[in-house]
């Protein structure tokens, strides 16, 4: 029997971790993800899990611990944010290239420079090429559900890649919402045992991990890694299908909200979808055909599926909660616009960078953007495509 409760996003993810009962957690506190290892170490202290909690001295050591624990044959998890993930950077690549399905709860927070503890997606967007699968959540419920699905995706033999389960710092990590929790047994059965074919502690057959890989072999290994990320696409959908059976909640690569007849659309990631959906509802009442695409899976990127959904739309605004300093738009924009390129009648696209370092975005902002999209649809002129919203223009 599923159980209704009220939880913050951090507690919800920690609760999923407890239900999974992994072998090793290596973690170091950083706002706003700190509560996750705190909750989890309480489960450890009370004997509610079998996990070895390794309270490391840095995030670099956290990911090193997880990578080695997973290589040894255990299931390893961590939680982090922002600069903490930046300190793991080297090990993100090492873990993915060793094809070790470590699971990370990432509570998205702005990268330092200057220091800021609030939400944006600069941490995970910067790591988009590290070889990790990335799942994003709008709500606490989605953060919980994504975490439960992470291991069956990452550990699949055709995939064997680490998974980052992202949620928005403070917005969902600290806000307490109603949530439906699955039964422990149902989660345990759904996630199953971790049964790697090769691992360091296998008695019959020692394993060597992390070779010096000369140019004769490196390219082949990278190609295999790229194939694994492609393989993740059908696996993500299959795991979502199985998850719907136990939960009644459906997931795909993205959520298409009021897209069937939409003339203009927004594409975004994460908790801002709540505000955007409210805007869509209001504008729909006025008879305006607006829609929203909320990306759940950013790596692997659902390029064909997204193009299909946005086909026929006149104008699209892609919302980036991260700067990439490319001088031509954010990371989501680059991917979405590329996805649309092969369409016969591709929509006009603009990019908005928004919400950096916790800057709010409101219904009025989204309504204004939809108005602009209708105007672009009418005139066929996108104007300046690379835009920012929500900032003061005078010096502060």
């Amino acid at each position: 029997m599923a159980r209704n409760d009220r939880m913050s996003g951090n507690e919800a993810v920690a609760y999923a971790m407890k239900q999974i009962n992994p072998d090793v957690m290596g973690a170091f506190p950083i706002t706003p993800s700190t509560e996750i290892p705190q909750y989890f170490s309480t489960y450890v202290a009370n004997g509610e899990v079998d996990t070895e909690f390794v309270a490391v001295e840095s995030e670099h050591s956290a990911m090193s611990t997880c990578m080695a624990a997973q290589a040894a044959g255990g299931r390893a998890i961590t939680a982090t944010s922002s600069a903490g993930m930046a300190l793991m950077w080297e090990m993100l690549y090492v873990t993915a290239s060793a094809r070790l399905p470590v699971t990370m709860a990432l509570v998205n927070r702005a990268l330092t420079g200057p220091i800021n503890i609030n939400n944006d997606h600069s941490d995970s967007m910067g790591a988009r090429d590290s070889g990790w699968i990335q799942l994003y959540a709008e709500t606490n419920q989605e953060a919980y559900d994504n975490f439960v699905q992470a291991m069956p995706i990452g550990e699949n033999k055709e995939v064997r890649l680490p998974v980052m389960v992202c949620q928005d710092g403070f917005i969902t990590s600290h806000a307490v919402e109603n949530i439906e929790l699955l039964d422990d047994e149902i989660v345990k059965n759904f996630v199953g045992e971790y049964e790697p074919e090769h691992y360091l502690l296998k008695k019959e057959n020692p394993l060597a991990v992390g070779p010096y890989d000369i140019s004769n072999y490196y390219m082949e290994h990278k190609k295999q890694q790229a194939e694994a990320m492609k393989n993740a696409k059908p696996v993500i959908l299959e795991v979502a299908r199985r998850f719907a059976e136990i939960s009644g909640r459906s997931y795909g690569f993205f959520e298409a909200f009021e897209m069937e007849d939409a003339e203009v659309a927004l594409v975004l990631i994460g908790s801002s979808a709540g505000t955007a959906k409210e805007t869509v509802k209001q504008l729909r009442k006025e008879g305006k055909k607006v829609g929203l695409v909320k990306i759940r899976v950013f790596r692997p990127f659902p390029m064909e599926e997204l193009a299909e959904t946005l086909n026929g739309v006149k104008a699209v605004a892609v919302m980036d909660k991260a700067e990439s300093f490319s001088a031509c738009g954010g990371p989501l924009f680059a991917e979405v616009r590329s996805a649309l390129y092969d369409l016969e009648n591709r929509p006009k696209t603009i990019n908005y960078v928004y919400g950096l370092g916790g800057r709010d975005i409101c219904v009025e902002d989204f309504a204004m953007i939809y108005d602009q999209l209708f105007e672009i649809g009418r005139t066929g002129d996108a104007g300046e495509v690379y835009r920012h919203i929500g900032q003061r223009e005078q010096e502060v």
């Binding site: 490391v56 502690l201 060597a208 890989d213």
Partner: protein, 309 residues
């Protein structure tokens, strides 16, 4: 049973020949010496910091290691070994593993004294049941003999070259063994390759079979960086010990014990003159360098004797 080198070397090798370490390199000796101290029935997971040892012993698709082996990065051998050991504890508790595994990390002085010091300190403090072995060759040899915090003063290294105004490395060597001893872990020892390897073997055995974290610092000369003939390795190690440049001692649960006191403490120049990296110290006008090197060695030795009383 009394120690016998002959008996020890008749055990099956756990580090195969055919690796690409140089002739006369100490790293391979350190590895073979430590692995010989494992009970043949015990299994091991070896962690290796990025180093000469790593790139010479596990080039895809070949490995010289008979035991399970993991290399992940340069600065994290401590945390990597700790992670594998943590998984072992859980899997053993869950009944998924019944064998005994030992966890051994190897790092050079670059990966240990410098970039990996934090990770090492953390792993030791957390109490993982593991042995960290530093094969100390006193510079970053893998990238081409750059100075480290282990490099002795006056060494001619590629980032502390002997120039017209700077005579080699300006700073003295860091005392890493004492830093590890200050972690109050069960076992810390300093050794090198001497005679029948008795000192080395006994320390490796103690480190492996004392529960909890242990640290071994092994002076491991490098023929390229130190500029000696490969066949002189043993002599250089002997001179390091007899000049008190590299004293043999161990610290068990905070109790310091000197393992060897030379009958006649030799002057430091006996050690220095065998190595090209110190050649400039013997030029006319540079006598002060040898004097100051001697003074540093004497002070360190006296303070070690005081600690071991």
């Amino acid at each position: 049973m009394a120690y016998s080198l002959k008996q020890q070397v008749s055990k099956p090798e756990r580090f195969a020949g055919g690796h690409r370490l140089c002739a006369g390199c100490g790293a391979g000796l350190a590895v073979r010496g430590v692995l010989r101290a494992l009970k043949p029935e015990d299994k091991a997971v070896i962690t290796n910091a990025t180093s000469c040892l790593e790139v010479s012993s596990y080039l895809y698709p070949y490995t010289a290691w008979q035991d399970s082996y993991i290399h992940s990065a340069f600065e994290n051998a401590g945390a990597t070994a700790g992670g594998a050991e943590a998984a072992y504890r859980v899997l053993k508790k869950k009944g998924k593993i019944d064998e005994t595994f030992k966890f051994i990390a190897f790092g050079g002085d670059g990966g240990t004294y410098d970039i990996g010091l934090q990770s090492l300190s953390g792993a030791m403090e957390r109490g993982h049941d593991m042995v960290y072995v530093c094969y100390d060759n006193e510079a970053y040899m893998n990238t081409g003999i750059q100075r480290s915090s282990s490099t002795p003063r006056f060494t001619d290294a590629t980032t502390t070259p002997v120039g017209k105004v700077i005579p080699g490395k300006p700073q003295n060597k860091k005392d890493l063994t004492a830093i590890l001893a200050a972690h109050n872990i069960p076992y810390v020892a300093q050794t090198t390759f001497l005679g029948n390897f008795k000192d080395f073997h006994e320390k490796a055995e103690k480190a492996l079979y004392t529960e909890g974290p242990a640290f071994l610092n092994v002076m491991s000369p490098c023929p390229r960086g130190w500029r000696y003939e490969p066949e002189d390795l043993a002599e250089i190690c002997k001179l390091a010990v007899d000049t008190c440049v590299w004293p043999l001692f161990e610290v068990e649960y905070g109790v310091w014990k000197l393992n060897y006191e030379p009958k006649k403490k030799l002057p430091v120049e006996d050690y220095l003159k065998k190595q090209g990296r110190f050649r400039h110290m013997f030029k006319a006008g540079n006598e002060w360098m040898i004097e100051e090197a001697q003074q540093f060695i004497d002070e360190k030795w006296e303070s070690l004797l005081a600690r071991c009383k």
